[in-house]
Amino acid sequence: MSSDQPAGQNGSEQKKAESNHIQTSISKKDEAIIPEFEGDLINKIVSRFGDKIVQVIYIRPGRSKILVPPNEILQVASFVRDTLGFDHAESVSGTDYPKDNQIEVIYHLGSYSVDKLASQVLALSTRTDRNDSRLPTLINIFKSAEYHERETFEMLGVYFEGHPRNERFLLPEDWADIPPLRKEFRIKGR
């Protein structure tokens, strides 16, 4: 596999293949056993929205990841907060996949108010077009995502519709280059 190409990112079939691959790769045990609690949790989301909207990428002990289309992310996020009890975003990050012409934005959600969910992190991810990267903001559902989304905007150029400040945050004010965490940005001399 070349260094720029992560595992299959084209189309849902390959994504499913990727998810299986990740599961088997981490530990042989995970292959057969999907942890009960995490499995139930994801099942609730899938049965509410259907497996056409919610794609399960992996379910591991304490960590689960789902992929939803951008136009459904607000509904899924509201459901995850109000019904399941994930109440804050620990991290929001973006990953650039130039080969697929896509940018993936991942919300790592945790819970303080539900004791059972303390060890759980739910990765809610969505993908947007690389050339016109726009996503609805989640700050009305998870206030804690505010600065993380602003950072994602300046580092990857994802415009969050409805976010009050899609502005510079960590980079210098006179920064006049492409967003640095996109893959075509190279550190000088390397």
Partner: protein, 386 residues
């Protein structure tokens, strides 16, 4: 006479104009930092109306080094020394969760003795960081003794870590698969002796600082963060625990051998600056117990690290691992494409998450309370900028 009357009228006019001043005219904009010694490498703009802060806008980024981008150019082992730069005073903890994440990606097991030494170094390093933070908190509330004492006692733990790792501050001690080296001879006795001395000192800290009426007046009831707001803002670490939520990653999701260690999560319910400064202090007390327990339960001999291949790599995949650092949960999200270099590294640090509470708490409070609120947030600008 006419001339006088004209002047009188003019004065009234001027007077009326002064009365007509707008809200905007009354506000004064203050820029705190980055050259202000009390802010660290961080700037925030505040607007004050008389004594009260009505606007606050944090402006981080003065020490942004692009750690996440740099990580994509180096392999998993080469990344360790530069990833600890954001928080050199807590360098063991910031490489801890990195190592955990890489171990999950590459399916590396850590020997039991290695896990104990890791946890021990992590606890010692948390003490170093908390003492440094306490010293700064003390001096910015005008308490010079509380600057000198923690700075001096911090050397105890720095000496221990120097004996353990070979470096005073930037240890690069945790590596995927374990720790770099075994504990030296006579370390256990020395560690126990110094921890016992430090516990006596903590009592004195309480007497001179935490029970000081002046300190209590400046912090009690100041900058109250309620439980609901703490959850909403997603704060972490001592800021969260001061608001009545006993969440500690060591307890919530034990990593390595923390599931076998018996300790209590320290928390308070008031949510004011006093609670936020007291929780790290209680953590230090608890940490002394943890250090003793770790030294007691540690296997007498055995491997401390798993031998790795020259360029460790795993199959494509991703992992998110977090540990409890001096400033709360510290998470690494690493995406691997199967090569020895990470495809994407995201560091989710406590300081960056707690920054959201700064404008929330400052707006509506007095300007004089600004230092006690700002430093109680356990904010480390270099870590937040990464």
């Amino acid at each position: 006479m006419d001339n006088l009357e004209q002047k009188f009228n003019e004065t009234i006019k001027m007077g009326l104009e002064i009365v007509k001043e707008t809200q905007e005219d009354r506000l004064m904009t203050l820029s705190v930092g980055p050259q202000h010694p009390g802010s660290g490498h961080f700037r925030f703009t505040i607007k004050v109306d008389g004594d009260y802060i009505v606007f606050c806008d944090p402006d981080p980024g003065y020490v942004h080094r692009g750690e996440e981008k740099m990580s994509e150019y180096r392999n998993f082992i080469q990344n360790i020394p530069h990833l600890e730069r954001p928080i050199i005073h807590d360098s063991t903890n910031i490489t801890y969760s990195y190592s955990l994440a890489v171990e999950e990606l590459a399916n590396i097991q850590v020997p039991l003795r290695g896990q104990y030494i890791r946890a021990l170094a992590s606890e010692l390093n948390r003490q170093v960081y908390t003492l440094y933070w306490l010293a700064i908190y003390g001096i910015f509330l005008g308490h010079s003794t509380m600057f000198m004492w923690p700075m001096g006692d911090r050397e105890l733990f720095i000496d221990l870590l120097e004996a353990l790792t070979g470096a005073r501050v930037t240890h690069a001690f945790n590596i995927p698969g374990g720790v770099r080296n075994d504990i030296p001879e006579g370390f256990k006795d020395r560690c126990l002796r110094q921890v016992a001395y430090f516990e006596k000192r903590l009592v004195e800290y309480e007497d001179i600082f935490y029970n000081n009426p002046l300190f209590r007046q400046r912090t009690e009831g100041v900058g109250i963060l309620t439980k609901e707001d703490a959850v909403k803002l997603g704060v972490t670490g001592s800021v969260l625990r001061a608001s009545g939520i006993p969440f500690d990653v060591r307890k919530a999701e034990p990593y390595d051998i923390y599931s076998e260690i018996d300790f209590k999560v320290q928390y308070m319910k008031t949510g004011d600056s006093y609670a936020r400064s007291m929780v790290p202090f209680l953590d230090m007390k608890e940490s002394c117990q943890i250090i003793r327990e770790l030294l007691d339960k540690m296997p007498k001999s055995g491997e401390v690290r798993t031998k790795l291949q020259p360029n460790p790599k795993g199959p494509p995949g991703e992992s998110y691992k977090r540990v409890e650092s001096g400033r709360g949960a510290l998470g690494y999200y690493i995406v691997s494409d199967g090569t020895p270099k990470p495809y994407r590294v995201k560091i989710s640090v406590g300081s960056f998450r707690n920054m959201l509470a700064l404008p929330f708490l400052l707006i509506g409070s007095k300007l004089a309370d600004m230092p006690s609120i700002y430093w109680s947030l356990n904010y480390w600008p270099v870590e937040a900028d990464r």
